[in-house]
Symmetry: C3
Subunit: 206 residues, 3 copies
């Protein structure tokens, strides 16, 4: 156990929790977008784009404070990595939504909605865990569960790719769908990276 | 404001400025290559490849010095990140040029030349900013402008992709063009990463 | 030369060596998989998947110890980067093998076996070098050779891509093969990253 001379009452905890709460909104908008018709999708996509901008601003606020603060609640690099990883989750989800609209993908494989359900679950778990960074309590279940979800999603993703290659005969349609599906997989990976960063922090503090 | 006990007169500033100046040459060669016929392209591509090797050597010089120097003008990791990010700009531009030649892409969408113009502007801004790291003066405009350019390029890139998917009916041609266009987009992203690293350094020093 | 107050007798050296030895098995399984018929490939792919899980576990062990250990044999971040880079080598090789099986790629371009031979050589060099981290002796040849192999593989990779685009007329087949070939190229890049991290450590210690 290392010596703790660091403050527990800093704005970093609130800022990280805000950033994670924003991800729940992002994942829910993505689920809504998937279920909507082409016209409604455009409107939902705009909301998703706005949520991404809010996330960007939150990340910048954390980075600026981080660079100006001498004593941080845990390793400076870990806060930096955590804020970057949270930002990546939103960037990937927003790009997936944008591609669905840009490529006019009216029909998506059924398993895409499973990918998005995993993202919603990851976002909820993450938003739920962030406030517990302050007390460093009960974080183990969170990162174990996100790692489990990511492993499961990775296996499902590869099967989905193989299935798409078997069933879709139009190569251009296949290219479009593949890009969306991979962007969703990148989003799940980004949530896993958040969880791994939290684990790193928690182990150091234990 | 943190205490400054670090030297202002170190080779790192010159090395980083050299590395950035090399990027201007890289971006200009890429613009030249785009406007040339197939035979001339090969010759220009060789020059681009040489410029990339010069960049590699510069990066290695910075890394070796960094690992051997005890007191650095700013955080060791920040210099490392800056040198790596500058290197990534060149690697991506060189790969884009090489793909254009390898895939014998005689005709490229008009918007590709806009992408390359953005790269030229980013390279100039970066080469212009690097020498100002020494005094840490007037860097704000640089990173704000590069971030603005990257945002604009990202939007243009997505529209270009959607347009390509609408208009190009030969899937293999589409795959080739998509790869080039994405490599150019990666190049812009790499310039943004340079700017973000400079911002990090500047905020710490302010 | 920096002051050395760090222990030479820590479990980190053994753990990193184990992780690298596992890569030799991974690269050999990949070579075996390539030469096998479709049915045997499935069985070999399962072994490769198990080797990847063993690698994951080794990485987690290193990370946990790293976060709990106050004095490490060299920079904490360097050990972290080294363990991550070793893990990336295996992840990429396992994914390449899995794609070959999932996409039912009975025939692969002849140059793919050259890519895998490079991976086998990189894995051997890496496994051979890791135990020498303890004494920091004779590491230069290792990283120079891996960098040389990566440069050569990069050039061969681009030529292979151009050749595939010239010769394969079925775009869906081309997409599948391209993904495998790129995953193998990512594997070589991951080995180069390991070598670069070792160089960083060695230069600091010299």
């Amino acid at each position: 156990m290392r010596l703790r001379l660091t403050p527990r009452d800093t704005p970093f905890f609130d800022l990280l929790a805000d950033s994670a709460a924003n991800l729940v909104m992002g994942a829910n908008l993505l689920a809504e977008l998937l279920g909507a018709d082409r016209q409604t999708r455009k409107a939902i996509n705009k909301k998703l784009s706005l949520a991404e901008q809010v996330g960007d601003e939150a990340t910048h606020t954390i980075m600026r404070r981080l660079n100006k603060t001498f004593v941080t609640p845990f390793d400076r690099d870990d806060i930096y990595n955590l804020a970057s990883a949270l930002d990546d989750c939103m960037d990937n989800m927003e790009e997936a939504g944008d591609l669905i609209v840009l490529y006019k993908l009216d029909e998506l494989p059924a398993r895409v909605s499973e990918q998005i359900q995993v993202l919603q679950r990851c976002a909820e778990l993450t938003a739920d865990a962030m406030p517990r960074l302050r007390s460093m309590s009960d974080l183990g279940e969170y990162w174990v569960e996100v790692n489990r979800l990511e492993n499961q999603a990775d296996k499902a993703h590869r099967k989905l790719l193989a299935q798409m290659f078997d069933e879709i005969t139009d190569p251009i349609q296949l290219m479009k769908l593949k890009e969306v599906v991979e962007k969703l997989e990148d989003s799940v990976d980004a949530f896993e990276k958040v969880a791994n960063t939290v684990e790193t922090i928690a182990v150091k503090e234990s």
